[in-house]
Amino acid sequence: MSRFARFFTAPLFIALWLAPAARADAEVTTFTLENGMDVVVIEDNRAPIVTHMVWYRVGAADEPPGKSGIAHYLEHLMFKGTDEIPEGAFSKIVAENGGTDNAFTSWDYTGYFQRIAADRLDIVMRMEADRMRDLVISEAVWQPERDVILEERNTRVENDPSAIFSEQQNAALFLNHPYSVPIIGWRHEIEELTREDALDFYARYYAPNNAILIVAGDVTPDGVRELAEIHYGVISPNPDLPPRVRPQEPPQLSPRRITYSDPRVRQPYVIRTYLAPERDSGAQEEAAALTILARLLGASGITSVFGQRLQVEEGIALSTGAYYRGLGLDDQSFGIYAVPVPGTSLEEAEARLDAAIAAFLEEGPDPEHLERIKTQLRAGEIFARDDQGRLARRYGVALTAGLTVEDVEAWPDILDAVTAEDVMKAAENVFDIRRSVTGWLLTEDAVDGATGEVTQ
């Protein structure tokens, strides 16, 4: 039997901010089909448009060793055709119906979507359901598509020294977890991927009991349920779906340092990434504190701790920042960076960053600053309702990271409840140099002419 739950998003900040009558919260409904496929419906009736998405709970971190890039390669091949959709016709059929489509792959998920007039939902749902089990990859298409991906890697990584550096830094951060492997894959492994590799991966992971349907836009939950049962409900679940268990990080005991130098670099910078806990279902408090910590330290080049000290007061940085990646199945990362002004060394920039953190750990957050950040987060919740695609993605990313719809709904209130003490405790935990990688991106002549050097 499927369960059926219906609820509204949590009120944001009723007392001071918004009269209840002015609220127009996105209405979210969830249910599960009998074959195990989860469904999320987000009603937005402002325009007769719909965003239809299917998210699979599989990504680059689920790839077999030596097959890096296969999740993303399969994502490309999913557009080739099925037993019913002719080769190369998938996106063309969507386009002929006035719709647009695309797909995306990350470490923990792979997603497919179409945006189209609401009265065409039936068509795209039928097509998406068809390629969940009946994908056809002919001999003619798999090699050119692999070339496309090598060119994609050229565009995204090889042509951008900052991306090469980031890939190396990420590989150094994770000692054991497959998050160390780039989503697009290492070039030498992409070059060896085959049609069979893609079909194996597809057969193992693409099934309704490993998928989430998200429909946002001018629809009703009953209407979506009816179509979903027709198109997705008839697909058999995969009883052999493997559990999502990845190798976990051992205790990290040794701080790492890397440098990457490249003649194409014109602006050196220093970035440090720390291993950080992810948002856990039912226990998102530490992640909430880290989210606010990142904003306090680095959300603004002017008002944040780093911006105010390094850019405005000391004038030694052109840009600074801090970020927290909290959404994922396993431990994620917290990053800080500084881009020095000409004449300031990376060593000095790193020292000033460390001094800013030390002072912050001593003094704690300015209460007014903390309040302003919460105000912005609350405002962000209201602005988010103006973007149905973004709302849909929020659910997809969370549900494929092991969170529940309830966790997503609770998140704004959990953020709002974070105290200065919570932030300090989270900061003390995350800023453990033994669990970090400090990276310097350099111009070539800064390191004795060494080219493409990666040290660790």
Partner: protein, 436 residues
């Protein structure tokens, strides 16, 4: 095959662009005009403003002053220094952004209904009373100089600049919008103050407002926000025909993947054949996964991750541009295939089926753009910039529908100039004869 063929054959008419019929023109007592869509279901307001001029009116030798000036508007205004201004923005939950493109300076604001008055007051301060403190100028100047240095080693930026230099050698469009290391380093506070006076003028405004605000409220809002702006700016640059004579220019740069821009003279936005050209380009290179260039260069041959073409209408010039990127050893083949598709389209045109499919996409997808307050506000301004009437969003699909097969094929033959198709390739391309 059968099922989906039947489905697509039985299409309904495309849905109308939402809110297109709800656009109203509001004229303030002070004589300012805005286009408005009331959308009260979310308590937010999006305001989009553009001012004709932008970087195109940077004085000679002061290239980059529009960018620097607009970038300084939120770096201190009135009684607030840069820090206090940003703090005020954060406290109100308002988002203000300022920039300058080639032809327009731009101002975007989105705010909560309940903080609307305070948010607008803050925006007004930024527009009317920017402080241009020396330390803020130095900070933002440093950021722009860093970007200019980085662009000098970025193949995409290098290709763009090489293309503009070639196409517009004696025109402001040939200059980099960010300016040069020399010009930006030399800008003074007086230059910035003068640019502020020149850029933000009330007789060159285009305004779009979308959200939780009524027509009655918009007029007074406009007068309070913009009514005190001065009138009259420097002359806009003259109209110019791009110099694109064909051939291949190679900019040598050590990187694994060559980046190419290609193009030829374009077609004016108010040309009677614009819509035929627009549909033709969709089929040739504008239509994403469905275009001929994607089919031939990416799908069949795996030569690139992305290839596309675009009709570009600057205020004073029209070009027809495209981009592609392929490994150094494969770019020559990509260039060859693109040139061949250009020629094939010019000579053979499109089929009735091609045209029908393109129309279905273009008319069906247009309403998808009207999906948020922020994007509708940008559309309202874009339509005004193009000099189109307020009824355009309602009529646009019928303009597409009216394009005939004869129109498309005639325009393909007239517009496309395979011999004038000019490539700029940045990288270390192999087997590519540089002809320029």
């Amino acid at each position: 095959m059968k099922i989906f063929a039947i489905l697509t054959a039985a299409l309904l008419a495309a849905v109308p662009a939402v809110h297109a019929q709800d656009i109203v023109e509001v004229r303030s007592d002070g004589g300012l005009t805005a286009w408005l869509v009331e959308e009260p279901s979310i308590p937010i307001v999006a305001i989009e403003i553009s001012v004709r001029g932008g970087a195109s009116i940077d004085p000679d030798g002061q290239e980059g002053v529009a960018r620097l000036t607009m970038g300084l508007l939120d770096e201190g205004a009135g009684a607030l220094d840069a820090t206090a201004f940003s703090q005020a923005e954060e406290s109100l939950g308002v988002s203000l952004s300022f920039g300058s493109g080639r032809d327009h300076a731009t101002i975007s604001a989105r705010m909560l209904s309940e903080n609307r008055e305070e948010s607008l007051a803050l925006l007004r301060t930024a527009l009317m009373e920017p402080r241009f403190d020396e330390e803020a100028i130095e900070r933002v100047r440093g950021q722009i100089l860093s970007r200019i240095r980085s662009d000098a080693a970025d193949p995409n930026s290098l290709a763009g600049q090489a293309y503009r230099t070639m196409a517009f050698p004696d025109h402001p469009y040939g200059r980099p919008t960010d300016g040069t290391l020399e010009s930006v380093a030399a800008l003074t506070r007086e230059d910035v103050v003068a640019a502020h006076r020149a850029l933000l003028v009330r007789d060159r405004l285009f305004i779009g407002v979308v959200g939780d605000i009524s027509a009655d409220e918009v007029g007074p809002m406009l007068d309070a926000l913009l009514g005190d702006l001065p009138t009259g700016g420097p002359d806009l640059p003259a109209e110019v025909s791009p110099i694109l004579d064909g051939g291949i220019e190679v900019v040598s740069f050590a990187t694994p993947q060559s980046v190419a821009l290609f193009g030829q003279p374009g077609i004016a936005r108010d040309d009677a054949d614009f819509y035929a050209a627009f549909v033709m380009n969709h089929i040739l290179g504008g239509g994403g996964f469905s275009s001929r260039l994607t089919e031939e260069v990416r799908e069949k041959r795996g030569l690139t991750y992305g290839v596309g073409s675009y009709l570009v209408n600057y205020e004073q010039s029209d070009v027809y541009l495209g981009t592609v990127a392929s490994a150094n050893g494969r770019i020559a083949e990509a260039v060859e295939v693109i040139a061949e598709e250009w020629r094939r389209m010019a000579e053979e045109g499109v089929s009735a089926e091609d045209l029908e499919k393109a129309k279905r996409f273009l008319t069906g997808a247009y309403p998808l753009r009207f999906d948020s307050n922020a994007s509708i506000a940008r559309i309202l301004v874009g339509v005004q910039e193009a000099g189109l009437p307020i009824t355009y969003p309602v009529e646009r699909n019928s303009l597409i529908e009216a394009v005939t097969l004869e129109d498309v094929n005639r325009v393909a033959a007239e517009l496309l100039q395979p011999d004038a198709l000019t490539f700029v390739v940045v990288g270390q391309p192999e087997g590519l004869p540089a002809t320029n």
